[in-house]
Symmetry: C2
Subunit: 110 residues, 2 copies
């Protein structure tokens, strides 16, 4: 990595963590990795996530260019959420977390 | 990764994200990657992090086996916080976030 980690805090890292560390966000990103999703698909997959919070998180992710809200002009209108290229590149982060989680499943402490 | 991401939520991923996604935690882990740190080193490096919250986070990280609190029996007593092997393996997560953050620095919005 570009920055020697730890001796000073990298503002880019800090900013990324501020976006990605929000509750539900890493779950939403993971859900969108394989394919675009409708709003209701996401609340089905992510147990406990309310409509209000999903809506809030999606707006945040749109505003920082991670998610695109695609409106298909059909009748009835169809809306899907899709990762942008910036969003798709979060796959490496999701995979790193998954790998760590699989390796250190509960029970195996240090 | 072991699990097809997205169609169902992997409970291990969800649990990892619950630990790692807490405010300050990814900054604390990053700070401990290069070397053990004293409490006051960490509050110096991580701007805005209060003693109370650092103490709380370190206890959480100890309880899930990511951080070890090392007490050197000297006079005065010296206490350092060090990543366990489980904690050191978070380097891959920190690096993935850093890489993503460096690549998508503000301004470059898909």
């Amino acid at each position: 990595m570009d920055h020697a980690p730890g001796d000073t805090m990298c503002p880019r890292y800090q900013q990324a963590v501020q976006i990605l560390g929000k509750r539900w966000t890493p779950l939403i990103v993971r859900t969108l990795l394989p394919r675009p999703r409708r709003f209701s698909d996401m609340t089905t997959i992510i147990e406990g996530l309310s409509d209000r919070l999903l809506s809030e998180r999606l707006k945040e992710l749109e505003s920082c260019g991670i998610v695109h809200r695609h409106v298909y002009p059909e009748t009835p209108v169809r809306i899907e959420y899709v990762l942008t290229s910036k969003g798709r590149e979060l796959e490496q982060v999701v995979e790193a977390i998954q790998k760590w989680a699989d390796c250190w499943d509960e029970g195996t402490r240090n």
